[in-house]
């Protein structure tokens, strides 16, 4: 089946998913979410003002009507204005790039380093280096991200300690500034991600190494390095792609929430979290829709990539 046709079909199949995500999120975040009325009342409200604000915010309308309104917004891609008055589209255009710029270096480096460590560990399977790497990975996996974040901020940011990087904040005025600001968050993300990813990749590589075709290749005296690149790495690609691809939606939208809050970075994770806390419905609706669409796109892209990697996989 041609890729375009396949993608289109998958896209249509993604519609129920988008509807489901919007329904669940709407019920949770918007309908049962926090009531913004009381943040907007001033210091000495009357019952009449409360009713006015509730009506302005649409809280007095029935579920179905409000959800239908949301779906209309999904279709037209127009979510209106955030609580600040900023158009939601502008807000996303401002915050999504920040989150991507923040998270991508750590994401890419984290996966590369993990893969490297995993290959080394698998290559030296059972030896001291392997055990050491795996023990460290387990340690990395066992430390809470919060602890790493606090610790790294003190060690790298505080002038009492190293003081190499800014304590918090964000700047993209120049490449140098950008690198200075992402340094600590990136190190923290990598530290935690490497624990999980190394273990995952090592298990993968180790399994591939015991496959028949690898044994056969070895028996034929093909150099170990070549077996590694030709047979093992290539076969690992599909699970690697899956793992990387499926972390994209959460990385782009939700994953950096903790880092963005703690380091005061104006990304989309923080904006969304604040929207949940304050009940800023237009922002929530837009983010949820965006994530759902990204998710569907990732699923499709993932399947297509499979075929590129391994032509035997058919797009059915």
């Amino acid at each position: 089946m041609p890729i375009a046709q396949y993608a289109l079909r998958k896209l249509l199949a993604g519609i129920p998913l988008v509807i489901g995500v919007t329904l669940v999120s709407f019920a949770l975040m918007v309908y049962f979410g926090p009531d913004r009325t009381y943040e907007l009342l001033g210091k000495n409200p009357t019952e009449e003002q409360i009713a006015e604000v509730r009506s302005q915010l649409g809280y007095d309308r029935p579920f179905a009507e409000r959800y239908a309104g949301f779906l209309r917004e999904v279709v037209t891609f127009d979510f209106g204005y955030a609580a600040t008055g900023e158009p939601v589209a502008t807000l996303l255009a401002r915050t999504v790039p920040v989150s991507l710029l923040l998270i991508l270096p750590g994401f890419v480096l984290g996966h590369l380093v993990s893969l490297g460590l995993a290959l080394l560990a698998a290559y030296w399977r059972g030896r001291v280096a392997d055990r050491l790497i795996m023990a460290l990975a387990t340690v990395g996996m066992s430390v809470s991200f919060v602890i790493v974040m606090i610790g790294f901020q003190i060690v790298f940011g505080s002038s009492d300690w190293l003081g190499w990087f800014p304590v918090r904040g964000w700047s993209t005025d120049s490449v140098g500034e950008y690198l200075r600001y992402i340094a600590v968050p990136t190190l923290a993300t990598m530290f935690v991600a490497i624990g999980y990813d190394t273990r995952f990749y090592r298990a993968l590589v180790a399994e591939e190494m015991t496959r028949d075709h690898v044994r056969t290749a070895r028996a034929y005296g093909i150099p170990e390095a070549r077996i590694f690149t030709r047979n093992i790495l290539k076969n690992c690609l599909i699970p690697v792609i899956t793992r990387v691809m499926f972390s994209i939606p959460s990385v782009a939208v939700g994953g950096s929430l903790l880092i963005e809050s703690y380091f005061g970075i104006p990304g989309v994770g923080r904006a969304t979290y604040e929207a949940i806390i304050t009940g800023d419905q237009p922002v929530l609706k837009a983010v949820v829709t965006l994530t759902a669409i990204l998710f569907v796109l990732v699923v499709i892209l993932n399947d297509i990539l499979y075929r590129v990697v391994d032509p035997r996989v058919s797009l059915e």
Binding site: L28, G33, I238, G255, L258, V299
Partner: protein
């Protein structure tokens, strides 16, 4: 979704339980880890039975006392005993971990088995759709949303975790059950007209125990670690005290040179999670004869 998410065909397991125990007992690291976990469990049990850490909320000292015989880890800003709070938090961690692990695994097993047994039917489709929907919502946003939607209930955090943690288990169980469905004795059971729920409960689910054990252990650790992050974000533990709350308390103190809260909570937590991770690895090795060492 995709074929690679399913585990590969597993060989028949005859005396799986006995062999796993034998294998596990040979694993020295695993045994040490298990001992550590049991030590933590004992500490938690003492709290449940009211043997110790009962005065975790009392003002027994003054602000920020250093470690002493009376206060092993010192006191916090209002004069509460940090050791008592850290030990009390151990029981909270077990409560969160056990509740989430058991509920998520049970839910995952039930729904995964139903989906797998009726693979291809509308039920399977609906369940798969539902899993996809929950997976497509970023985790922390989802849990935060649940916390708000449940209107300040003390169980909000646990519900949020259970509602997402079951999916991984369900997918694995579904895959396994799809294979088990074709096995002779299951087909035989069907042939003699046993109702589907009975077949699933008696003949199918017991064969997924190895998956459930491993998944439950992953959920247990996941819940404890997630608690820390959620409490830190202000959407976690509502009543009492927990490691996450202690760490949040410490964020202000560490920069003032007072590390007791931070060290007490993070070291205790690290010890438990590390031990449990190691234990879970050993368990996985013991249960999975295919696993490559």
């Amino acid at each position: 979704m995709n074929a690679t998410a399913l585990p590969l065909p597993a060989p028949r397991r005859d005396s799986l339980g006995a062999r796993a125990v034998r294998q596990f007992r040979r694993d020295r690291t695993g045994m040490v880890a298990l001992a550590v976990v049991l030590g933590y469990l004992a500490a938690a049990a003492g709290v449940w039975f009211g043997w110790w850490a009962t005065d975790w909320g009392a003002l027994t000292g003054t602000k920020w006392e250093p470690a002493s015989a009376a206060h092993w880890f010192g006191t916090n800003i209002i004069g509460q005993d940090i050791f008592a709070r850290a030990i009390y938090s151990t029981s909270v961690a077990f409560e969160v971990g056990l509740v989430v692990a058991l509920a998520a695994t049970a839910l995952g097993a039930a729904l995964g088995a139903a989906a797998g047994y009726f693979a291809g039917s509308w039920l399977d489709e609906v369940l798969l759709w539902f899993m996809g929907v929950l997976e497509a919502i970023p985790f922390y946003l989802f849990v935060a949303a649940v916390a708000f939607a449940l209107q300040d209930s003390p169980w909000a955090m646990q519900v949020g975790m259970i509602a997402t943690f079951w999916i991984g288990t369900a997918r694995l169980v579904r895959g396994e059950v799809m294979k088990l469905r074709g096995i002779e004795y299951v087909e035989a059971a069907r042939a003699i007209g046993l109702p589907s729920p009975v077949i699933i409960a008696r003949h199918v689910l017991p064969n997924t125990t190895h998956i459930l054990l491993v998944q439950a252990s992953i959920a247990f650790v996941g819940a404890i670690k997630t608690e820390v992050i959620l409490s830190f974000l202000g959407i976690g533990i509502r009543d009492g005290v927990s490691w996450g709350l202690m760490i949040e308390e410490s964020t202000k103190e560490v920069l003032a040179g007072f590390y007791n809260n931070f060290l007490a909570a993070s070291l205790l937590m690290f010890g438990l999670v590390m031990a449990f991770n190691t234990f879970a690895d050993a368990l996985q090795d013991a249960l999975d004869p295919r696993k490559v060492g």
